[in-house]
Each structure stands twice: as C-alpha cells, then as structure tokens.
Symmetry: C2
Subunit: 151 residues, 2 copies
DNA sequence: TTATGTGCAAAAGGTTTGCACATGA
DNA sequence: TCATGTGCAAACCTTTTGCACATAA
C-alpha cells in the first residue's frame, strides 16, 4: 500500500521532471485530488483552495489543471452540463483505458479492460462505418457508497 | 425506402402531436437535419437558416432544438470543445442505444447493438462499483467518405 | 538572476432569459 | 382570439487572455 505521503512525493517528482515549479498552490491542488480520489470542476478546486489561499484566482486553477493534464497527472473528463471535470488517473494517457465515476461521491477510477473488438466489427457491419475511436463512459455507485458509508 | 417528403410528413405529424406549432422556421430546421443526416451545432443551424430567414435569432434556434430533443425528433450529443451537437435520431430515447459519428462529414447514425453485459460484470468485479449507466461514443468514417465521395 | 507562476481585470464564446411584438391554430 | 413562437438586447456562466508583479530555482 502506497501512503499519501509517498503519493505526494511521486507527484512532486513528476512536476520537477516536467520543469514545473513546486509552488504551495500546486502542492495543494495535487493534495486535493490525491486525498479525495474524486473528480471535480476547476471551480470546485478553487473553492477548496480559497480556504488556505485567500487571494488565489480562478485562472490560476485553470492554468494548473491544464498543465497537470498535459503531463499526465490528471485526466480531463466531460461531465454533465457542458462542464469539464478533472481527476487523478493512474493509467498513462497513451494506454487505452476508460473511466468510471461514482454518482454519489464523485470518486473516479480508471480501468483498462475493454472488449470492444467484437462489438466494433458488428457495428461496422451494421453501419458501414470504419471505426477509429471509441469512448466508454460508465457511471455507478462505488464500494463505499454502496455500504452507505459515504454520501 | 422512405422519401424525404414522407419523412417531413412524419416529423410535422410529431410536431402536431406534441402541440408544437408548425412554423416555417421549424420546418426549415427539420428539413436541415432530415436532408443532411448530419449533426450540427445550434450555430451551424443558425447560419443555414439565415440564408432564408434574414432576421432569425440564435435563441430561436436554441429554443427549437431543445424542444425537438424533448419530443424525440433530435438527439443531443456532446462533441468536441465543450459544445453540444444535435442530429436526427430514429431510435426512441427510452430504448437503449448509442451513436456513431463520421469525423469527416459529420454524419450521425444510431445503433442498438451493445454487448455490455459481460464487460459490465468484469468492471464491477475489478472496481467494486455497481454500474448504473454507460454511454458509448464511437467515431469513424462513414461509407460515403471511405469511398472518397464526400468530404 | 531569470524563467515561470500568479492576481486582477477584462474578454471571449456558448447558452439562457425577459419582454414586447408577431403569428399559427 | 389567444396560446405559442420569435427578435432583440442583455444576462449568465465557464473558460481564456494580457499584463504587471511575485516567486521558486
């Protein structure tokens, strides 16, 4: 089991490797996602950060989330209402994978199982399309929320 | 084979059934989607309508697309860049189905094949989630564009 | 020291709303 | 006639940009 401390070390290393400076705000942002394991809008993150950084601006949050996504720390997922959400994602961007989110607590997990090949063939036959990409969006209730442990 | 004329009759009937008035603009909107079979943003539709209706406003388009989606004539699909697209969809909303879109010509088709059951079980086992919904977004190149007939 | 990060203000771009007038049934 | 549709202007909300100042390395 990797501790939260180790996780932080890991992510700060990734920042350094990508020549991003290690500022208190950036650490706090990573903290937020690592600790919660949930996905959130830039606005959500901003509200959280304002508790400790009175003067932080929303553009700062946007800019950092964007950078974190670029270097592979975060995933950008499309959510309801035409808004983007970010969440910690462990599977490398280049590797094919999908995400599952908890409708109650907004937990985000990634998984790489995806038996699309058979279905792909079937759809191609039926529609005449040549399929190039596919995304699977899965929503459900996570283990904790099923237990009623968290809402 | 159903003619475009028959299709128009069909859709105007649906309008009447849902107590929506049959205005020239609404007919033109349905026309646009029926003839092209493609998905488009409200803005795209607006640009098209302006050719025949000099004074038409963008809010009118938004309001009508929204209504058409509600009564099941159109489907709202999320596209790139945080924008919504609309397209004609033949499969009833309540019936489980997915959409496939052509990256070249923006054609939109629907299909109801979807062997999610096995995958669902596998994901549930691996993640501990209880899955409630899933959406599959498929992109490719349609028959016509493969032939190079249309771009 | 210096490239990078940040706050602030303002703009951008898609979407929605309120209201007075117009129009289909 | 009258409920519904529409044009216009303005608001809304998320996201982006420009710029001067601040800060990590």
């Amino acid at each position: 089991m990797i501790s939260i401390y180790d996780k932080k070390v890991k992510y700060t290393r990734i920042l350094k490797r990508n020549k991003l400076k290690l500022t208190p705000k950036r650490i706090a942002i990573i903290d937020y996602f690592v600790k919660s394991g949930k996905y959130a809008t830039p606005f959500d993150v901003w509200i959280y950060l304002k508790k400790n950084f009175k003067k932080i601006g929303l553009p700062t949050v946007y800019r950092n989330l964007e950078k974190f996504e670029k270097i592979g720390i975060l995933t950008k997922v499309e959510g309801e209402e035409n808004r983007f959400y970010y969440g910690i994602c462990k599977i490398k961007k280049k590797k094919h994978h999908h995400h599952i989110t908890c409708s109650f607590c907004h937990k985000l997990l990634d998984f790489d199982i995806c038996n699309f090949e058979d279905l792909k063939e079937e759809i191609e036959k039926k529609t005449g399309f040549s399929i190039k990409e596919h995304y699977l969006i899965v929503k459900g209730i996570c283990k904790d929320c099923q237990k009623g442990g968290e809402i």
